[in-house]
Amino acid sequence: MPIISRAETRSRRGKLVLLAIVAVLSLGGVTMVYPFLLMLSGSMRSQMDEASLNLIPSFLFSDKALYRRFLETKYDQDVGTLNRDSHQHAYTFSDAAVPPRLVRRRITDFRAFVRQSKIPFFWWVLGGTVGYQTTPGNLRALRARLEQRFHGHLRAFSRAVGSPTSAWDLITPGVPQWLSQRFSYRPDAIWAMYFQMFRQSPLAQRDILSITGYFLQTVIAPAYGLSSVAAYNQAHVRPIRSFRTFVLPRRVPSHVQPLLREEWIDFVRGQLNPSFVVLKGVSTASWQEWLRQRYRTLAALNGAWRTRFTAFDAVALPQGRWLSGAKAQDYLAFLDRLSPAHYRLWDLGYAWRDWLRRHYRHSIAALNAAGQTRYRRFSQARIPMAELEYSYVRQHALALRWRYATRNYVNVLDGMLFQGRALLNTAIYCLLAILAALVVNPLAAYALSRFRLRGTYKILLILMATMAFPPMVTMIPNFIILRQLHLLNTFAALILPAIANGYMIFLLKGFFDSLPPELYEAARLDGASELRLFVQLTLALSQPILAWVTLGAFTAAYTNFLGALIVCPAQHMWTISVWLYQFEQQANPPAVYAAVLIASIPTFLVFLLAQRTIIRGIVVPVEK
């Protein structure tokens, strides 16, 4: 610190000035670091809070925020699914309802119900298998397990699934729409793995489908809207207090409620998957007779259903089994012919209430006492899914927080390291660029410096003149030349245009000029060859300027995005910059922040290593 001399630092004024300097630098440093911290915290967020600018994401310290983040992942970032299956009307996941208190008894009852009942697979769905611009945990697990099962052989997997897949990270099963009448699925390897994962998943991660919610979504919402019951109550005979407590009756409403009855029948016959409709008061014989009339021969039935029944009497009435294909169509047609009085809706909610009735022996008081609820009828009892989820979240808070905070980093590293060759390409490219720059430029500078050529400065002018032109001018002709030489999508295309840099040659020449000529004469006298003079004398003494050249070449190569995109458009030749650009097009901002932070680590490391060397010995031009 030459400006403030040592003596002055001892004085009070000197100390004050130093303190002021450190204070100003710290303030400036904060503005340098603050965006980094923003990016760091942003990289841990999800779509729900991606625009929030607090330094610490709230899910890291607030259980409520963590619960909502869990909901966002579980319901596949679709707030409509959350609304349907939990009977609320949230606009975003940050508005989702949080259970006010946890009553253990409700959860234990529900777990007992699940243990004791046989719950068909289509009554609920595994959560977190679909992400919008992101890859949730269960989807990654599904892909990983499929890859493991097929030992990494994509071809075998494609054959097993029946459709060509070009990469493991393109497998996207989608959420099964069991409720929809139009949904069908063909069992294959993906479905098998899905069901296996489902069986092993904790209860809190399962999304229980609700016929009532589906009814509200598909029938009530388009006609009356769901934000207020006014329109609904105006049209219907019996008003309801809120959609939250509305439960679709299991049986068809009587003629006292004509509109609701009509809507109910339309819904069951036209929207709902027939697997959710069981029949009461209809004999198996009538079903079999109807089938006999429809198909006439057993062979036709077996052909259409792909079964091997030996007689029409062997065909059972489907009661709560999954129906698909021709069987579903036939059952639907059968339903159409019957009176609606025979229909009974059957889903997990209704089964739960049945179980509660049996368990509490039809005593609503006992139910209320045990669960601290205030139901008036068993049909009002709600599935305690929110409580289950919240207690699961509380129990696994640390693990969930870690998983959510690192999700973006995991996805980015997956893409960067294991899919494609971005990292490898960039490493090779930077290495080659540095080596080439360190060979060509010092050679030219050495020639200009030591050989006293005629026209040294004219040559330098020629070498530096092109830097005056905007890069746009040379980009397209460069591309055309490379294409004609068939050098596109090779490393040569990336490196060749940028190896020789007039300014670097000039700096190197200046540095070489500043080396004392006596050294060279002494070495000459000792019989050193020209090569020796160059490598062992010049280069060895020029470490600072060479470090500067290295830093410059590395930074230019690493951050070269537009040039790399133009000359190496093929995916197998992408560098990290190009990959980042493509990634940014199809990923959400938090993931992009994570990717950027990871991509900035090499530059930072190179700077840390080169810093000392550069500052220690770089030369600057001074007037003669």
Binding site: G28, P35, V440, R452, L453, V473, G617, V622
Partner: protein, 607 residues
């Protein structure tokens, strides 16, 4: 903006009706309404279409295969499959109702909210397709400029009699520009005049260029004559041989493309069709293009801001960093200040774009609006402090040239002019108030200094007056640390005994900096300044593209960005290259000057 709508902070959003938009919204929560008609009943929706193309360089077999795919994709089978997949996966209510009816899913029509079907129908009935013709890739830029100008001039709030002639003028200007620039519908007489002017200009520039080149060449010949000496011919061979790789590389990858670029500037360059010779037409159109000159003016403004605000932070930072007491702290601060250079520039721009969000939720606006919470007395103190700091800066600008003898006369004049301009800007509200309302109005303006803040959120990059300033600040912020490295090394070359001698003479810190440090670095400063000028003229395009895309109504459209737009977005290679060559020829002079100075330099290392 979209975030505000997603979080429920605003209730209405203006967007296009497309597959992606429909999939992103929830029918139970969101309604759709068509764009209202204009007061005269004109339709105001726009229809966009998707275009599919085949790369002309592919083989005939490939072309046939692609054509077959296109036929399939645009046929009824593909449409039916797509609708069926949507329905099967439960997204049936998001499909266009027309398609649902056509492919036999009438029950799904009940699930679609009423407003949607109406919006679809109205959009198809009322919508007007985007204009298509020669050079109309970005037609909406020139089409939007009269609207943007009208908004800027606040014509909507003026009485009709006053506003309508101005609107008519704006529309005339826009249609003139589109006719001349995009469609190329220029009368032959005008074209002839332009060609003559262009020819004269080019010849003039070439003459000046060749003259300057000859002068520089002669200067260097003299310099070289002093250096070179007679040597063995073998050494010459060695020397030129070692030089060959670098020379050949630059000749091939810098000069050859430049020559190719020059050929492009004189032709109507087409990517696929054969190019035709255009003579000086491109230059003619460029020289008479108001957008070119506006870009030149904006570039000068940009360079002035960049240099005025961004040249001295690295120096200041280097001086401060040098004085830090401990080595560890020095290392720490150097690293911290280098951090922004570590992340790639475009991401910095995206980050700053978030910070500049014009709503009251943007970070900078929140910081600004937090000042509103100050009580009257602290607010007055802050205002007075800021005013005091500003006036101190002006005083410094005037006093520095007076005291420092080393600064040459032109630079002194420039500094004084800048100080005068800034003073004028500062006093302008007061003068305007005096002029308009006399003493009471002036008192009112002065009175605004007292009392609490009543700040409104600023538009930052969306306000035409602030946009350029907002664009310059991120690159200054990011470049301060990296730029200070060179100055840190340079500061080490200043000998310590100079400082000691000055101290014995009783110099304070300020005098030491002014009279020892800066003069010792003068050479480096001048060279860096010229390099900064060249860099500011050439660079900044990708940053501005990321931040404002050319700015609110071309407010930040600097010349490199304009070249980028012409070349890559409007695919007018010839015109873009002509502009680039004009810019490059002007900057060659700077490069030559820089090299002249560098030839007088010797290199000194630090200790």
């Amino acid at each position: 903006m979209f975030w505000l709508w997603e979080q429920g902070h605003i209730a209405m959003l203006f967007t296009d009706l497309s597959q992606e938009m429909i999939q992103a919204i929830n029918p139970q929560l969101v309604g759709i309404a068509p764009v209202p008609r204009a007061p005269g009943g004109e339709a105001s929706g726009e229809l966009n279409s998707q275009m599919l193309g085949i790369f002309s360089g592919s083989s005939p077999d490939q072309q046939l295969a692609v054509m077959r795919y296109i036929w399939f994709l645009t046929g009824a089978t593909a449409q039916r499959l797509e609708v069926r997949t949507f329905v099967q996966y439960g997204f049936g209510q998001f499909v266009n109702p027309v398609l649902l009816k056509r492919f036999g899913y009438p029950w799904l029509l009940k699930q679609i909210p009423a407003g949607w079907a109406k919006a679809f129908a109205m959009a198809l009935a009322q919508g007007v397709p985007e204009p298509y013709g020669h050079n109309t890739q970005n037609i909406y830029y020139p089409m939007s400029s009269p609207i943007n100008s009208a908004l800027e001039m606040n014509l909507g709030n003026q009485p009709a009699a006053q506003a309508i002639p101005q609107i008519r003028r704006l529309l005339r200007m826009a249609s003139h520009q589109i006719n001349y620039q995009l469609l190329g519908a220029i009368p032959p007489a005008v074209m002839h005049l332009r060609r003559i002017v262009a020819l004269v200009t080019i010849l003039g520039i070439m003459a000046a260029f060749i003259f300057e080149l000859w002068r520089v060449w002669r200067h260097f010949s003299r310099v070289d004559a002093m250096l070179s000496s007679r040597q063995h011919w073998r050494r010459y061979v060695w020397g030129y041989g070692l030089l060959l790789p670098a020379f050949a590389l630059i000749a091939m990858w810098a000069y050859l493309p430049l020559a190719g670029g020059l050929a492009m500037a004189f032709s109507h360059y087409e990517l696929v069709l054969p190019s035709t010779w255009a003579g000086v037409d491109n230059f003619a159109n460029v020289l008479f293009d108001p957008r070119f000159w506006s870009a030149v003016w904006k570039t000068v403004y940009f360079v002035a801001l960049t240099l005025g605000l961004g040249f001295w932070p690295p120096i200041l930072l280097a001086i401060l960093l040098q004085e830090v007491p401990t080595d560890a702290l020095k290392y720490f601060f150097r690293t911290v200040y280098y951090l922004p250079s570590v992340i790639s520039g475009v991401i910095i721009m995206f980050l700053w774009r978030e910070l500049y969000a014009p709503s009251k939720y943007g970070v900078l606006n929140r910081l600004l609006l937090s000042l509103n919470w100050l009580g009257p007395i602290p607010a007055t103190l802050v205002k007075l402090a800021v005013l005091g700091l500003w006036l101190a800066l002006l005083v410094l600008l005037v006093w520095l040239p007076l005291r420092m003898v080393e600064i040459s006369r032109p630079i002194k004049t420039v500094l004084w002019l800048v100080a005068g301009a800034l003073l004028a800007v500062t006093l302008q509200p007061l003068v305007a108030a005096l002029h308009g309302g006399g003493l009471p109005a002036a008192a009112g303006v002065a009175g605004a200094l007292v009392g609490p803040f009543h700040l409104q959120p600023l538009g930052w990059i969306q306000s035409p007056s602030l946009a350029m300033l907002c664009v310059v600040i991120p690159s200054i912020w990011a470049g301060a640390g990296a730029g200070s490295i060179l100055y840190l090394a340079a500061l080490k070359t200043v000998p310590d005994d100079l400082y000691e001698a000055a101290e014995i003479d009783g110099a304070g810190i300020w005098q030491k900096v002014c009279y020892i440090t800066l003069p010792q670095l003068k050479f480096l400063l001048v060279i860096q300044f010229i390099a900064a000028v060249i860099g500011a003229f050439l660079g900044g395009a990708d940053y501005i593209l990321a931040l404002t895309g050319g700015g609110p109504n071309y407010a930040t459209m600097i010349l490199p960005l304009e070249i980028f737009f012409r070349t890559f977005l409007q695919i007018q290679f010839g015109v873009g290259t002509a502009m680039a060559w004009l810019l490059g020829l002007v900057l060659i002079w700077f490069t030559a000057t820089q090299l002249k100075m560098l030839s007088r330099a010797e290199f000194k290392g630090g200790r």
